[in-house]
Structures are given as structure tokens and as C-alpha cells.
Symmetry: C2
Subunit: 242 residues, 2 copies
């Protein structure tokens, strides 16, 4: 019995360490999104460069979490719910790593964009979108630590707002480009950023799904409503072919 308790508590201690690393990684990714969006809005090349530099630490932390998870699997051989916890950690850290990559890519484009004429209003629209994703990420990490299914569901619902913001920005860029060909190159880059931010929202959503799986043992029923309607919205077709 005391042996068993010993094993359980070692497992719990291992898990706590890994979860602390997930939270640390989450904080770094939140900061990357926020700084990347700010560097874009204020044309701050130095801050953009910083974001790019810091991505290595995020990648390293994912690798560390993977190693820790593998170690726990090898040493403790968890089953059932405990196994689910460890597998969830692998999935969540992979999603965080990809969100970090998107933030890094946003920062990369900041450097290119700061050499071009500004496109009115776009950076602040993009920053609002990024801020919403950042808030969602903060909430999904809370939902993860507190095993809060309701909050996870709310995060999934909020991804629809991000998708709507993206769709509005996409249309706006098309208009800008048609109005003035000088807007074409900057808008292509800005559009990248918008699309990547929308993808960050999708990744936060998939973390929320992992939280729901972790707590309930099942993925959410409703396939989450999709999302970027620019690929299916017929109203975008006539616009381009007139």
C-alpha cells in the first residue's frame, strides 16, 4: 500500500512538473502573440526581431515536455486517465509550438512591411484579432489547469468571432488592392498575417478540445463550425470576375 502511494505521488509530482512547463510555454506563446502584433502596429523592427529570437526557447520547451512525457510513460506506465493526461500534454505542447511559429512568422513579416507604405487601419484590425486569440489562449490554459469544461467550450465558441474578424479583413484587403495596385504587395503580406492569426485561433480551439477530452474522455460532439468562409462564400466570386 505504501509502495502504491509512493508510485502515485511520484507520478503526480512528474505531472506537476510537466504541467508547470506547459503553463510556462503558454505564457511565452501569449507574449509572442502580443509582441508580434504590437511590433506590427508600431512598426517596431527591434521588437519583431526579439519575438523571432525567442521562438527557439519555445521550441526547446516543447522538446523538453516531449522528453518528460516519454520519461513518465517509460517509468510510470500510466493507464486510463493518467495516460490520457500524458498524451494530452504532448498534443497541447505541439499546438502551442505551432502558435509560437505563427507569431514568429508574423514578426518576420513586420520587418518586410515596415519598409512599405502603410495600409490604412489594417494593423490595428489585425491587432484586435491577435488580442482576441491571445485572450482565448489565456482562457484555454486556465481551463486546462482547472479542468474547466465550460470555459473550454466557451473558448471554442469564441473562435467564431475570430473567424468573422478574419473574413471582414479578407474582404477589406481585396478592396484595398483593387483600389490601388500599390496596396497589392503589402496586402499580400498583411493577409498572411490575418490568415495565420485565424489559424492560431483554430489551434487554441484544438487545445480546448483536448481539455474537454482530458476531463470527459470524449471529444466534443459538434464538429466545430467552420470557419474561414472565404473559400466557400460565393459572394467573393463575382467580385473578382467582374
Amino acid at each position: 500500500m505504501s509502495d502504491h502511494q509512493h508510485i502515485v505521488s511520484s507520478f503526480d509530482r512528474d505531472l506537476e512538473t510537466i504541467q508547470a512547463h506547459i503553463m510556462k510555454m503558454g505564457g511565452m506563446v501569449e507574449r509572442a502573440i502580443s509582441d508580434a502584433a504590437r511590433s506590427l502596429e508600431t512598426r517596431d523592427d527591434e521588437l519583431a526581431e526579439e519575438v523571432r529570437g525567442r521562438d527557439k526557447a519555445i521550441d526547446a520547451l516543447e522538446e523538453q515536455i516531449n522528453e518528460e512525457a516519454a520519461r513518465v510513460l517509460a517509468l510510470r506506465s500510466p493507464a486510463a486517465r493518467d495516460l490520457r493526461v500524458v498524451l494530452t500534454v504532448i498534443k497541447i505542447s505541439a499546438s502551442l509550438e505551432r502558435i509560437g511559429d505563427y507569431a514568429k512568422n508574423m514578426a518576420k513579416r513586420t520587418s518586410v512591411l515596415s519598409q512599405m507604405a502603410a495600409v490604412n487601419g489594417s494593423p490595428s484590425a489585425l491587432r484586435r484579432m491577435a488580442r482576441e486569440v491571445e485572450e482565448m489562449l489565456k482562457d484555454v490554459l486556465d481551463a486546462y489547469i482547472q479542468r474547466d469544461m465550460d470555459l473550454a467550450h466557451e473558448v471554442i465558441r469564441r473562435d467564431l468571432d475570430v473567424d468573422q474578424m478574419y473574413n471582414a479583413i479578407f474582404r477589406e484587403f481585396l478592396t484595398f488592392m483593387m483600389e490601388d495596385p500599390r496596396n497589392i504587395t503589402p496586402c499580400m503580406h498583411l493577409h498572411f498575417i490575418a490568415k495565420n492569426t485565424e489559424r492560431m485561433g483554430d489551434l487554441v480551439t484544438s487545445i480546448a478540445e483536448q481539455v474537454i477530452y482530458l476531463v470527459s474522455g470524449q471529444f466534443p460532439d459538434d464538429p466545430r463550425p467552420k470557419s474561414d468562409t472565404t473559400s466557400v462564400d460565393p459572394s467573393l466570386a463575382p467580385k473578382g470576375s467582374h
Copy 2:
């Protein structure tokens, strides 16, 4: 001793099943890429619709592989190299699922694009790029099954060709859009497809990295050379601001 052999061979049998599912999934994803690119080139809405419909089966297979991997971890508690094999399976199936998603998105845009004026030559350039990615995927799956590090390294190297194809297409689209505003909307969609194809190449590369990790226990030394230079190439800046 016979007990040990029994356990080992059960584990091997489980692994064989999972690997067969990985290969099946890989085949489905290859076909999705190929059909999506063909539907784009020939403006075949029906084929595009098929690709979209088949993505559910790919997603379901990933889920099944995850469950099988979790079951093996729980029942067999593999350690060291065996554990690496199981963890690799989880990563590779996740990458395949994402490549499938990109193929589905390509097929979605086919439906929108077939309502617009064609942009000369672009679909065939995109199809060449997609074909290269499809070949890389085929080879990386061979490398996986044969535990062939050299082939995995070759796949990583070939991703540079895909990146160059993408960069060429990106520049071409900018030119088309500046020449004629009617090209703007279709080029935005085509550019999505190009970027997603480039990302498929990145995902194939990360499968190749998993193969190298699986065989050698280490990830490849050289951080793989990046890639999409449109975000850092200063020659793209003046173009847009003149």
C-alpha cells in the same frame, strides 16, 4: 522467457497493425493531394467535392491510430526504442492529418475558383508543386517503413525545391495582380493554395525528421533551412512601394 517472448511478439503485432494504419492513412492523404490538385487544374467540382468528403475518413483513421497507440502504451508499457516507435506514430499521424486538411482546403477553393476567370498557367504550376509534395510523401512513407535515414534526409533536402517553386509562384501572382485588378481575387485564392502546398512540404519534412529520430534517437542536426523567403526577401518590398 516464454512469457517475455509472448509479450514481445504481442507488442510487435500491435505495432504492425498501427503501422499498417499509418501506411493506409498515408495512401489516402497522397490520393487527396493528387485529386485536389487535379480538380483545380481541370476545374472538376465533382472531384473536389469527393476530396472534401473523404477527409472525414482520414480524420477518423488518425483518431483510431491515437487510440491504438494509447492502448499499446497502457497494455504493453514499452520502454526505450519501443516507446519511441509508439510516440513517433502519434506525431506522424498528426502530420498526415494536417496534410489531409490542407488538401481538403485546396479542394474547397477549387469550387470557388471554378466560378472565376482562369489565371493563365497557374493551376499547372500549382499542380507541379503538389506533385512534388506527393512524391516526397510517398518517399517519406517508404523511409518510415524501411527505417531508411538516407531517404529521409533526401526528402528534407527536396523540400527546398518546393520552397523555391512557392517563391516563384508568389512573385508571379504579384505580377498578375498588378497587371490586371480582375486577377486579384482569383490570385488571392490561388496564393492560399500555393502557401498551403508549401506547408504540406514542411509537414512531410517533419515526418522525415520523425523517421530520423526513430532510427537514430536524435533529431537531425541542421535546423532545416528556411524556406519561404517571401517574408524576408527585401526585393519584394520596393516592388510594392513603388
